[in-house]
């Protein structure tokens, strides 16, 4: 997506519904944040009324609670347990079907089902996460046609964070809190004497959409208020991850005793990988009907924390210890991802910290490895 140089604009709170309506009129399926059973999830939404109005999310290692903010902010929370990958790379998807006769198999590809999604309220860290997954699924040689079709159609309505959770560390990862590019439109929510949004346009589509709804040009004060929002998020940033030399620290500490300490706590439950917006591992299920003439292949989310992941006939699992599985995950995120995709595998969203049922914290583990750099069991 190329950035446009259109000047910033402002939309009034009451015109958010006009924005949503314009997106719908363009044929987009709106998905975005909404409260379900005390948690902000991403699901179908229709109007601003479906958004988590007035809620914030209080997060710490292993806990997440919604609390009232005391205002009527539409986007006054950070990130929940779900990521946009649930739409672009669904947890379970049919790849193809096949029918067999005595001497032939006919393979039937699944045509990419590609609704044009409009993602409402995408945070800066998550824009980066989507780009990380783009590198995996849209490689030149082997693109995943279903991912690609959905990705290319998606409209991204970003929201710049005006607050940060205790688990957030996007500043350390250079991924936020303000979205610099990679969006069609980006909103910054201002709540003061009046409730409105400063809007930046990222693409021609974004600009065309903005032109369809009531808006006015942004002035100096509006831009100052928007900058103050971003500053507030920076000040609230709950965690830090020192990335200096981190890639190398991880790659030389495979035998550090710290892995054993974290392995005593780790449940190998895979929650961290499921909630991570960049984790892309999958498996396939091959099934047949009972008669055995119709077969299907399904792709499902998988995790490096399972034993089956590295199963080798005869030898069992390559990474059978808990230690080796946690080490693979974290080393991949913060080190080998650079070798593979020329980017960090972690964008600092903090989901893995909040949603680990025993509160294991990637920033704490990285810091511990840094202080014990070079220690080795004999």
């Amino acid at each position: 997506m190329k950035k446009t140089d259109s000047p910033a604009a402002c939309i009034d709170r009451k015109d958010i519904d006009a924005l949503f309506a314009a997106l719908k009129a363009e044929g987009y399926a709106l998905v975005g944040p909404t409260v379900q059973n005390g948690v902000i999830v991403y699901d179908d939404i229709s109007t601003a009324g479906d958004l988590p109005i007035g809620w914030r999310d209080e997060q710490e290692a292993g806990t997440y609670r919604l609390k009232k903010r005391g205002d009527a902010a539409l986007f006054g929370y950070n990130v929940g347990p779900q990521a946009w990958k649930k739409f672009l790379f669904p947890p379970r998807e049919k790849l193809w079907t096949a029918d067999k006769t005595r001497h032939a198999i006919a393979f039937h590809p699944e045509t990419p089902d590609a609704p044009g999604y409009a993602f409402i309220g995408v945070r800066a860290c998550d824009i980066h996460a989507i780009r990380v997954q783009d590198k995996v699924f849209m490689s030149k040689n082997h693109a995943n046609p279903r991912y690609k079709a959905r990705r290319e159609k998606a409209f991204i309505l970003a929201v710049n964070c005006g607050q940060a959770a205790k688990t957030c560390f996007c500043m350390s990862m250079n991924t936020g809190p303000k979205a610099e590019d990679g969006f069609d439109l980006a909103l910054t929510e201002i709540i003061g004497d009046s409730h409105y949004f400063v809007v930046e346009t990222g693409t021609e589509q974004g600009k065309a959409l903005l032109d369809k709804i009531p808006h006015r040009a942004a002035n100096e004060d509006d831009l100052k208020s928007a900058a103050a929002c971003t500053d507030n998020a920076k000040n609230e940033m709950g965690r830090k991850l020192d990335t200096t030399g981190l890639k190398d620290i991880l790659s030389r500490n495979y035998e550090n005793p710290r892995w054993e300490i974290v392995a005593e706590r780790c449940l190998t439950c895979a929650n961290c990988t499921m909630v991570c917006p960049t984790c892309f591992c999958s498996t396939v299920e091959d099934t047949t009907d009972l008669a055995g003439n119709h077969a299907e292949r399904w792709q499902t989310w998988d995790s490096c924390f399972t034993m089956d992941f590295t199963h080798l006939h005869g030898g069992g699992s390559v990474r059978h210890s808990e230690k080796a599985r946690y080490r693979q995950w974290m080393t991949h995120k913060l080190s080998t991802w650079f070798d593979q995709f020329d980017t960090s595998g972690c964008v600092g969203c903090g989901r893995c910290i909040a949603w680990c049922p025993v509160g294991i914290d990637i920033t704490e583990e990285a810091a511990a490895l840094r202080t014990s750099d070079g220690e080795k069991n004999d």
Partner: protein, 279 residues
Amino acid sequence: MTEPALNDPMLPMPFVVVENIKNNPDCTLLAVRPVDSSHLCLYKPGQFFMLYAFGYGEVPISINSDPSLKHSLTFTIRDVGGVTAALCALEPGDPLGVRGPFGNGWPMEDLAGRDVIVMAGGLGCVPLRPVVYHLLQNRKDYGRVSLLYGSRKPEAFLFNKELQIWKRHIDVRLIVDDPAPNWDGPFGHTTDLVKNLEIDKDNTSVMICGPEIMINLSADKMLELGIPPQHVHISMERNMKCAIGQCGRCQFGPDFICKDGPVFAYDKVVERLLDIKEV
């Protein structure tokens, strides 16, 4: 709308079995050809394909044929579980699905003019057979060629007939793990075959495939003999579901074995990772 789906790298191509030959009790040689006869089977020695047995699933299997044959593929498959058993049970005329080729293959282009040592342990001989064919067909482009091949038992050697023919053109040395009544050759490990092998360490390339422990020992031996790591090549195995770097399963440190491998130079990174447990 079928256009993009047809480019789906996860979609197998229909093939049929031409021949099924039992090599030894648990290994089967399977020759297959594409249903679309205009499709050419192009690949490099050391690459692999994903073979799909209807309803059972898909597994990575190394290409085993003479690379000059373009209208069929042959594989040697050991029956170790669900999918491999189903593949070994296929009969001529039976359909299957094939995706590939995948992986980098052996660096044949870097070998010209050099002496070549091929080291195989057990089923590791499978991906090396096309190498031997290539070397034989272009014999004058290479210096001395040795095949060092170890097997658990005498009856488990693959390609027995061919071994006899190859012996006439290259140095073939065989070894079995333990003494056996029907064996009058040496016993021990593949590395023992290196004894009294004349090695020009500045002009020799090595290719190794077999169980991980055999690879590790053999490669270390070659470094010990002074062959530089960039000329020692190994082929690795891991669980694989996609073969295109997207399922994440085959990771080995910084590399995806399916696309960055399965062949690697035995450099510092690989040597170190192989020495660490459970990478």
